[in-house]
Symmetry: C2
Subunit: 396 residues, 2 copies
């Protein structure tokens, strides 16, 4: 059977050249970079080279502003809690959007338990935050605004540079979760104007278990992992050398190949966004049509339950998801879709296709071939569909 992986938003495969770069650090160069003897030398140099590579990918002036973490979730926890806790003297209020990743939203909820307040700004029906809503939400005691760069569930890109103008004018620290965008589309901390930025290796063909938080020089942040003096005293723990090296290599490849990747991915996305609603009735595109991640096509299929659709697609060799991988096993309607105004019943039929560098036009054709009969089969079993037909609103 044809195997079609269309879940690159959940995680990407590791590039062979990234794996090659990692292997020496899973072998001969096993030393601890903190050590003074020669076993520490190669790993230490490799870490600094990777730091430069990641810095270049995001346009950081100074690679020392990059702190390696265990992934996007740690970066987001570190940013949100670290800024809020370090700046309590100024105030105890933070602002996030309704469609942030749970690692941001739940970090905010943890802060609420510690006596902080959090304002959640809405998004429009396309899943876009309006800068004026951020402006309105900022108070005298606001210390942090955290708005994601791209949403992984509906692909929407946020007006980060515009929001940054507001936060700068109001002298509030601005963090962006760029986990879904970094390595996929251009991300430049200077152009975005943010103060902190989260990224993750497994989102752009790098390793799992590694990410980074970029913290603009001069920004006060509380370390998240206490202990040794690694990462300039800002993130303790023996470094994950193979992971860091892999992240650096993935960053380097992403920089070199980004234009080509975007050129290849965009037509796949656009073909699916255009043709799927024509092939299956009662399908809504979620997120914007063009202001979205290049390989990202998401829909809601009405009168159907996403979970069953995923399983039938899997039986046809297709790997997709119904929303965030982090919560797909929690089986709740996506908070992102609800925030965009969709009702729960429709949000249950969510389907997310995220193309990667190994996908082709034929993969889209395959989806367009296998999905319609699956939807038809599921609707025949659906009491909602039956009710809808009897209501006379639909044809047959």
């Amino acid at each position: 059977m044809r195997k079609v992986y269309l879940d690159n938003a959940s995680t990407t495969p590791l590039l062979p050249e990234v794996r090659e770069a990692m292997l020496p650090y899973l072998g001969e160069y096993f030393g601890n970079p903190s050590c003074i003897h020669e076993w520490g030398d190669a790993p230490r140099e490799a870490v600094e080279e990777a730091r430069s590579g990641v810095g270049r990918l995001i346009g950081a002036d100074n690679s020392e502003e990059i702190i390696f973490t265990s992934g996007g979730t740690e970066s987001n926890n570190f940013a949100v809690k670290g800024i809020a806790l370090a700046n309590q003297a100024k105030g105890k209020h933070i602002v996030v959007s309704a469609i942030e990743h749970f690692s941001v939203l739940y970090s905010g909820k943890t802060l609420e338990k510690l006596g902080f307040e959090m304002t959640v700004v809405p998004v429009d029906k396309d899943g876009i935050v309006h800068p004026e809503d951020v402006q309105k939400a900022i108070r005298k005691d606001t210390t942090l605004v955290s708005i994601m760069h791209a949403n992984g569930e509906v692909g929407s890109l946020q007006p980060i540079a515009e929001i940054a103008k507001i936060t700068r004018a109001k002298n509030v620290v601005f963090h962006t979760d760029a986990v879904a965008s970094t390595g996929t589309i251009p991300v430049n901390v200077k152009e975005l104007g943010v103060d902190l930025l989260s990224l993750s290796g497994n989102q752009f063909y790098g390793p799992k278990g590694i990410g980074a938080l970029w913290v603009r020089r001069g920004v006060r942040i509380m370390p998240y992992l206490d202990g040794g003096v690694q990462e300039g005293g800002r993130r303790a723990g023996t470094e994950n050398i193979p992971g860091i090296v892999g992240l650096g290599k993935a960053a380097e490849v992403a920089m070199a190949k980004m234009p080509e990747r975007i050129k290849n991915l965009t037509p796949l996305r656009d073909k699916l966004l255009k043709e799927l609603p024509a092939k299956v009735s009662h399908v809504t595109i979620t997120g914007p049509l063009t202001n979205r991640l290049p390989g990202h096509a998401s829909f809601c299929v009405e009168f159907i339950e996403g979970e069953a659709m995923l399983m039938l697609l899997n039986s046809q060799g297709v790997g997709v998801t119904s929303g965030s991988a982090c919560t797909s096993r929690a089986l709740k309607a996506s908070h992102v879709l609800i925030a965009m105004g969709l009702d729960h019943a429709i949000a249950q039929g969510s389907l997310l296709f995220s193309f990667g560098i190994n996908n082709t036009k034929e993969d889209v054709d395959y989806i367009l071939e296998v999905l319609p009969p699956i939807v038809e089969r599921l609707r025949q079993m659906s009491p909602l569909w039956d009710k809808y037909l009897k209501s006379g609103k639909g044809g047959k």
Copy 2:
């Protein structure tokens, strides 16, 4: 030149069989375990198999009590802060020992900033905590005792089971940092009687960037990384699959080979502990003679500065450290040695040899050959040595 790595306390090399076990997860099996489609299946099964392997290594009844983390530092931060923050209703006091790893001590200091109190119990001259001191330190509002199983700097083993009897009687949660011991000597959570236990892969020939926290079922802990529902909702973030698989494999190998490893390492340690003080004057063994980690021999060489000794040993192909790798670049006298009552001048001459599975008796002979002339050379340049000689207390 002969190359002798004697710094396994800083980090161990990765076993070839561990690397082999990891490779498929750096290749074909790249999926996200949270996904419902088949790409998630092999990684998810591998994670659960590794969890069982780690559980077996530490004698856990239930592998669900194992939470994978990014390493020992995260495990210790998670344990100390997670227990303290989850049990604030009972009290805001914790007890640690003076020789804990900085990831425990500084987690305690962070808690102090949040309004908690921390009592630091002393150790004796061998670096051993006395259970009665723990007993005395526990108050009505104590919610956590955290005492390490083995100290990585002086090798001392702590009377964990005895302390556990006290904490149990007083109904206080007991965490042990077993990063330096797990995989090296028998560690059994039931025999130790603890409630939480930290371990780290790179301490027993597993990968860097991965560790675990064992939390006894029923113990209330606050999640440390907020976000998705991974690890039973207790540790969010896409799993580091290759790291987890490597940790599981390293655990399996450690269980199988532990008796043989201990049998080989102990004579190396004992030979060095016995013969080095005979070859170099004014050398003190730090830590206990026998109640210590099998491959661990540590000393203080008087009238000398550890840093210079490390560099000259490195020039002879020998990799050792002067204390904790996490702080070796901080160049402060070890808090462990100071807690044991050594004065700062002597603590500066600290030397730590940690043998691993690749070391032989010939490595010990090589140390005994190259170290004495290095010490002599450094002492000739030392004003302290000069002063000592002139005082007439020494010979020559």
